[in-house]
């Protein structure tokens, strides 16, 4: 850039400070909205996928050929390769035992892990903590005549166990007919130390789920990994719809933001009709005049774009925070797109208008017709 061009550009930017600020604001606004929309488009999907995971497992591991799984094999799920793919898991053992002379299904579970993947359970009372405490399904409780705080004994073959009720369980599912105790307690009662009947696994939905199943099959050949289709299908459908919807909305926002930047930039360029004609009349080459205006537009586009990216990130985080109560991970793609929108549109608009004006006779423009 020659010395003169630079002087002209900076001089004009300084003199027209108000206009420049307005143009930069328009660009920044457009870019920020685009960045925010794109961030939400990607970030929200991830958040929602996580969010959905708190509502139940989508995989179940059952023994393939043997009657039981080994508890010691659970270390496989803690393996580095699987750790990222598994949000939570809970091992179970199911056995029928007699309580008060009636047969009932006893479920052994690790309550700390179970509570994480069963957030929809409604518990009257509290989760069991100690060895001989039990959570009891509402229907089982009413049929066995048990209430909160009652003590009862469970009999399996020759062994016997004394338990107390710490919580009543409402789920609307099979759990309402069961008695839940600690995993080790039931294993001891049924003399099945170290054995499991199933493991529920909660894992990120979508394509990843299939990969997780494949990895699980390989890593733990004694277990059969099954997708719980009801949960998995619902998740996939929701996420796919959401994706289409957010993409469409992002496109609309992109168009609208582009239009607003276009309008502002063309106003700014039109205003300077006379200035351009004067430069031409004084002997400025067409190319050189266009270059002056283009570099101005470039500068404004850059500043506006950068400001817009920052503002857009902030905006999407505010939305993420108010909807999910936590930050969403920004999409790396959004920043270059936001910046490109700012620079591209401002450059394009000003060149478009400048070309139109330069095509006119300077004399005509200067006479003000």
């Amino acid at each position: 850039m020659s010395e003169m061009t630079r002087r002209i550009v900076f001089g004009s930017l300084r003199r027209r400070r108000g206009r420049v600020v307005v143009a930069i604001c328009a660009i920044a606004l457009g870019a920020s909205l685009v960045v925010a929309a794109l961030n939400l488009r990607y970030g929200i999907k991830e958040r929602l996928a996580r969010e959905l995971r708190s509502y139940g497992a989508n995989l179940v591991l059952v023994p393939r050929t043997e009657p039981f799984l080994k508890e010691s094999d659970l270390v496989i799920l803690e393996d580095k390769r699987l750790k990222d793919r598994i949000i939570g898991y809970a091992p179970f053992i199911h056995k029928v035992a007699k309580v008060g002379g009636k047969d009932v299904v006893l479920v052994g579970a690790r309550f700390s892990q179970l509570s994480k993947i069963s957030q929809w359970w409604q518990i009257e009372g509290r989760w069991p903590e100690k060895e001989n405490e039990a959570l009891i399904g509402t229907n089982a409780a009413s049929k066995l005549g048990l209430r909160l705080g009652d003590r009862f004994s469970a009999v399996h073959k020759i062994s016997q166990l004394s338990l107390s009720v710490t919580g009543l369980l409402h789920t609307g599912g099979a759990e309402e007919h069961q008695v839940l105790v600690r995993l080790e307690t039931l294993q001891r009662l049924t003399l099945l130390d170290g054995f499991l009947t199933s493991v529920l696994v909660s894992s990120p939905a979508g394509k990843e789920l299939e990969e997780t199943v494949a990895i699980l099959q390989k890593a733990w050949p004694q277990a059969e990994a099954r997708t719980l289709l009801q949960v998995a299908r619902a998740e996939e459908a929701i996420l796919a719809r959401l994706e289409i919807f957010l993409t469409l909305v992002s496109l609309l926002i992109l168009t609208a933001a582009g239009l607003s930047v276009y309008a502002t930039m063309s106003t700014a360029a039109l205003e300077r009709k006379v200035e351009m004609a004067l430069m031409r009349a004084l002997g400025g080459e067409e190319r050189r005049v266009a270059w002056i205006f283009a570099s101005e537009a470039l500068g404004m586009g850059l500043i506006g774009g950068i400001l817009g990216c920052a503002a857009g990130l902030l905006l999407s985080e505010i939305i993420g925070l108010s909807v999910f109560g936590s930050f969403i991970f920004p999409s790396l793609l959004s920043l270059p797109i936001g910046l490109a929108l700012g620079v591209g549109i401002s450059l394009f608009c000003s060149l478009w208008v400048v070309r139109r004006i330069l095509a006119l006779q300077p004399a005509v423009v200067l006479r003000g017709e």
Binding site: L52, V105, H177, L228, L229, V249, S322, V323
Partner: protein, 448 residues
């Protein structure tokens, strides 16, 4: 004079007028489309979710204690309790009858299939049932009366409609009597394939059935065998009896009122609130109405499904409202920018009028009227454009046909769209017009 000026100015600058109207129309298209979507999207999502399983389970009031383990299920005979199959169509006569999306009855017992123990489940696969005429008017304690549109007369339902996530290899049994659907795991264990005949034995009696399809669900259903309800009732000697019903209902997420109703019981709500609660499709109120319609029934919310749905829909609604607010904001800014350009191009005209003796008040009126008119025009065009766009968006996004636009909703959206269009046009022309008027006429006329 003013009217003449207005008409002439709009007419002479045809191209410009069209541009401004178009840009206002674009923005109001967005406003109206988004408003439409924001109001209906959660409903659409809810419908979508309903194809993924029931959210209400109906059982007899004296629900027996069942021992369900490894896909098998036992109930002690003295505890067994049943519902009547004949009473099921009444589900479609409750106040929220149109929100009952699908339901299917079940009756199951342990049987021997090819020498192996398995659970035989009788159900409706795909049935068209006649619906009795339900109550048309619902009267409430406070004297108000609500009308419900009558049903069509028949209703299409069954397991196939209720459990659309099931993967069925082969086909669903039709309404022929001896077709069965068999769980994947059971089929593998028995080594049976599609069209094979299997022997089912109950209490010494045995029948031959043919396998129509193999079902994969990931759950306990894979160890079970599904037959027609009628056949199961004959086998178990329980004519007309069913044990449980799964119901899929469209509901709105619970709010404070629903929470209070479930805490203190709906009967203890004040009459006005009771009516609101009764006439809102909360899960609780739908269950309450079902229990009213079918005596001796207990309705249970399948919490895994209903909780996930409620929380998800709540989040979705908030997200959509925020995204829509942002989109509308951009659209409005775009219009404002166009208006600024349009007025700016006319500063010479303004200068001339001023030089000819027009005062600021007259000029302001002229420009604001012009903006108002173009805004109105754009708003009307945009409103209908928005309706079309919303329709398109929802068809692309949701597999269901179009949105059902209710008139009351449109009565709110139309004025809002129009108001936004006019306001934005006025705002957009106000500042540049004011600035143009501040300038010396001589200067604007000379083109500086």
């Amino acid at each position: 004079m003013l009217g003449c000026l207005l008409a002439k100015s709009l007419w002479r600058g045809k191209a410009r007028t069209v541009l401004v109207v178009l840009s206002v129309a674009t923005a109001s298209t967005l406003v109206s489309a988004f408003l439409n979507i924001a109001f209906t999207v959660t409903e659409e999502m809810a419908k979508e979710l309903r194809s993924f399983g029931a959210n209400i389970l109906l059982v007899p009031k004296s629900e027996p204690l069942e021992i369900a383990i490894g896909g098998l299920r036992f109930v002690s005979p003295e505890e067994s309790a049943y519902l009547e199959e004949a009473e099921l169509p009444r589900l479609r006569t409750i106040f929220w009858r149109h929100n009952i999306a699908a339901f299917a009855p079940f009756l199951s017992r342990m049987v021997e299939v090819e020498g192996e123990q398995a659970l035989l489940v009788g159900t409706w696969f795909d049935r068209e049932i006649p619906i009795p005429e339900g109550k048309r008017f619902f009267a409430f304690a406070n004297g108000s009366r609500r009308e419900v549109a009558p049903d069509k007369g028949t209703f299409h339902t069954g397991l196939k409609n209720l459990s659309r996530w099931w993967q069925v290899e082969g086909q669903w049994p039709r309404e022929d009597k001896d077709g069965v659907l068999i769980g994947n795991e059971l089929a593998r264990r028995l080594k049976v394939g599609i069209n094979d005949r299997i022997r089912v034995a109950v209490e010494g009696k045995s029948v031959f059935l043919s396998v129509r399809g193999i079902a994969r669900t990931g759950g306990d259903e894979e160890k079970q065998i599904f037959v027609h309800l009628k056949l199961a009732q004959e086998l178990f000697k329980l004519p007309g009896k069913i044990e449980r019903v799964q119901v899929s209902t469209l509901v709105t997420p619970d709010n404070a009122l629903a929470a209070r109703a479930s805490r203190i019981g709906p009967a203890n709500l004040p009459p006005e609130e009771y009516e609101t609660w009764y006439c809102t499709p909360y899960l609780g109120s739908v269950i309450y109405q079902i229990e009213e319609a079918i005596p001796n029934t207990k309705g249970k919310a399948i919490r895994q499904v209903s909780e996930a749905e409620g929380a998800f829909l709540g989040k979705m609604r908030l997200t959509f409202i925020l995204v829509v607010a942002v989109a509308v904001l951009v659209a409005l800014l775009a219009v404002m920018a166009t208006m600024v350009t349009a007025i700016f191009e006319r500063r010479q005209e303004i200068g001339l009028m001023k030089a000819l003796g027009a005062d600021a008040k007259q000029l302001g009126l002229l420009f604001l009227l012009e903006a108002g008119l173009t805004g109105m025009g754009g708003g009307i065009v945009g409103y209908f454009g928005g309706l079309t766009l919303a329709q398109l968006l929802s068809v692309r996004t949701f597999s269901l046909g179009g949105l059902g636009f209710s008139l009351s909703l449109q009565a709110a959206i139309f004025p809002i769209t129009l108001l936004a269009a006019v306001a934005v046009a006025l705002l957009g022309s106000f500042f540049p017009a004011k600035e143009a008027m501040r300038l010396e006429p001589v200067k604007t006329l000379r083109g500086i």
